[in-house]
């Protein structure tokens, strides 16, 4: 079964179905993720795009059982194993070993009191208890070398504060691939970095994906990064997937008004911009969702039926979009 327009007969390595994450807040339940379904194929790059608060990070954290104080329902099957509701011990053996995650801010994601080499060894030995300390140390040096840091042996003796942001993100990547995972989730891996370093990190991630055949899930709000790196894209809005498809059709012929809005916001070099385009309004809060399409209040194409019921993902051209305007029937508000 292929949903979300993977368009191939490949068996997904990670299959998410109707994932829902609801946080309990003092103001009532806040549904941060509301029925997300997506497939990650082996060796591909899937970009999950959305504004802050659209639920893209929470979706991925929930798959690994890393959200606290929230109710998670639905299904996330990794390589035949259902991850939702799996006990902590078994989840732990999957985290970092089969599904790894790297975070936005490399400056704070490394343990400040351990050397780089020790941290890498710890990660490996956590999943491979029989690995000797010497072998782990040796492998740590290889990993640091693998992520294109020179003088790997010396770097392994360094503490995180001695390294630059770009280097630290490379170390985070080395840590994430230390146990040869099948899926690498990168949560805004370049947001905290210098523009010049961003491209290098993306290149490194892409290279690792091609060499080791891991699937890369790229969480980002940067459409520029998506265009260059992704095979497929899922655009999220208010905890749901608004549109998903292969990267080319989605960029060339976006169906959903939200995707179109996002793309319009990208400054282009070949057009003179006197005014920077933006989508009017702000993203909805999960505490006060409208009954219909969550994007309707900001959508300039919205029709009456948009306010009545939430649209479902359906095929529109080469992509799948959740939008009633596209199905046609209805009158303009």
């Amino acid at each position: 079964m292929t949903v979300n327009g993977t368009g191939t007969g490949q068996v997904p390595i990670l299959q998410v179905r109707d994932l829902r994450v609801t946080f309990n807040t003092p103001d009532g339940p806040a549904p941060a993720v509301r029925g997300v379904s997506l497939d990650v194929l082996p060796g591909e790059t899937l970009a999950v795009v959305g504004e802050s608060g659209s639920g893209k990070s929470v979706t991925m954290l929930a798959i690994l059982g890393l959200v606290q104080g929230a109710r998670v329902t639905g299904s996330a099957v990794f390589d035949g194993t259902e991850l939702v509701g799996l006990d902590t011990g078994r989840l732990r053996s999957i985290r970092g070993a089969k599904v790894s995650m790297i975070f936005q801010d490399p400056m704070t994601s490394l343990n400040p009191v351990l050397t780089i080499g020790r941290q890498l060894s710890l990660v490996m030995r956590a999943h491979q208890p029989h690995l000797s300390k010497q072998a782990a140390a040796q492998r740590a040096i290889e990993l640091v070398d693998r992520v294109a840091i020179s003088q790997a042996a010396r770097r392994c003796e360094s503490y995180p504060h001695e390294l630059s942001g770009g280097m630290r993100q490379r170390i985070m990547i080395a840590m994430a691939i230390a146990n040869n995972p099948a899926v690498l989730i990168a949560d805004e891996p370049t947001t905290a970095l210098d523009v010049t370093v961003q491209a290098q990190i993306m290149e490194l991630l892409d290279e690792l994906r091609r060499e080791s055949g891991l699937a890369l899930v790229l969480i980002t709000h940067d459409l520029g990064v998506v265009a260059g790196a992704a095979d497929r894209v899922a655009v999220m809005y208010a905890g749901r997937i608004a549109e998903t498809g292969s990267v080319l059709p989605l960029f060339e012929a976006p169906a959903h008004p939200y995707t179109r809005g996002l793309l319009d916001c990208l400054p282009r070099l070949d057009i003179r911009h006197d005014v920077q385009v933006s989508i009017p309004g702000v993203a909805v809060s999960p505490l006060s969702l409208p009954p219909g399409c969550p994007f309707a209040p900001r959508c300039s194409y919205a029709i009456e039926s948009c306010d009545l019921a939430e649209p479902v993902l359906t095929q529109h051209g080469d992509t799948m979009a959740a939008c009633d305007v596209l199905t046609g029937a209805g009158t303009r508000r």
Binding site: F103, D105, N111, H127, M175
Partner: protein, 291 residues
């Protein structure tokens, strides 16, 4: 005309760290001397602390620096031997309390929820009593003696470290590198041991140093009221009790008193400097809330 900018004169010596300067250095030297005395005393002590060496109640002289007590024992030598009781007892109390407090505080801070609630209420209950009073009650119920006094002191002393460590653990466990350790599949034991504790320990260690002097004092206090070491032991508190019965022979109590003073003061000097070095804040608030 050209003006030259002179390079600032190079500092000859690096400034010594605060714990090697001023009062802290004095304290450190005092402590080192006391420890040396305590360790080597059996090798060179001119007399046994329990054996009479001269007439009773001699006033201080060159042959007996702090005179003799009611049984003719050399008070100065006895005061030195007292270090062989007070220092190890305090060390055991502090180390045991730190270990117990660490386990409880780390568990409470890391797991939170009902574990935290139960453990911290135990801490609150213990800290609600003045330490000397609770230590007295426990020693009295266990029966007087230095070993029971030691157990009692550990029981009243650990909560402070549990509370300190819990606060640190709660702060550290929310830092991103701990979350990324979770994401990488590290076990909870590994995360607590290698990620959280090393970042949480400083206030506990600084406080433990400062408390050392307090425990020396508490040991002496318990012995003074007859719950800790008993005569003829040369324990400082017990010596002061003996001194109190020979009130006009001031040197008996004074020798032990001076010994306590020197040790407590030295620990406080060192502890203050350590606190300044590591910039541990708000210890006062947390400590004063119970004692």
């Amino acid at each position: 005309m050209t003006s030259t900018i002179e390079a600032p004169p190079r500092r000859r010596r690096r400034r010594r760290p605060p714990w090697l300067r001023g009062p802290a250095l004095v304290g450190l030297i005092t402590l080192v001397l006391w420890v040396l005395v305590a360790l080597t005393l059996p090798l060179w002590s001119p007399s046994d602390p329990l054996d009479p060496v001269a007439d009773r109640l001699l006033s201080p002289s060159w042959s007996h620096l702090m005179g003799t007590d009611a049984l003719g024992r050399d008070v100065f030598i006895r005061a030195l031997w007292g270090a062989r009781i007070s220092l190890p007892v305090s060390a055991i109390v502090i180390v045991s309390s730190v270990i117990l407090g660490t386990v409880v505080g780390a568990a409470a801070g890391f797991f939170g929820g009902w574990i935290d609630a139960v453990l911290m209420r135990a801490v609150d209950i213990t800290m609600a009593f003045p330490p000397i009073l609770l230590a007295m009650a426990i020693t009295a119920s266990l029966g007087p003696g230095i070993r029971n006094a030691l157990i009692a002191m550990v029981l009243v002393w650990w909560p402070i470290y549990a509370r300190l460590l819990r606060a640190q653990v709660i702060a550290v466990k929310q830092r991103e590198f701990v979350e990324s350790a979770h994401a990488i599949g590290a076990s909870r034991w590994l995360i607590v041991r290698r990620y959280i504790l090393p970042m949480s320990y400083t206030p506990v260690l600084v406080n433990a140093t400062m408390d050392f002097g307090q425990v020396v004092l508490l040991t002496a206090s318990l012995s003074f009221i007859g719950l800790g070491a008993r005569p003829p032991s040369p324990e400082w508190g017990a010596m002061i009790t003996e001194g109190a019965t020979n009130f006009y022979q001031w040197w008996i109590a004074a020798a032990a008193g001076i010994a306590i003073l020197l040790v407590v003061l030295a620990f406080n000097f060192v502890g203050d400097a350590l606190r300044d070095t590591f910039d541990v804040k708000d210890l006062g608030d947390m400590k004063d809330s119970g004692r």
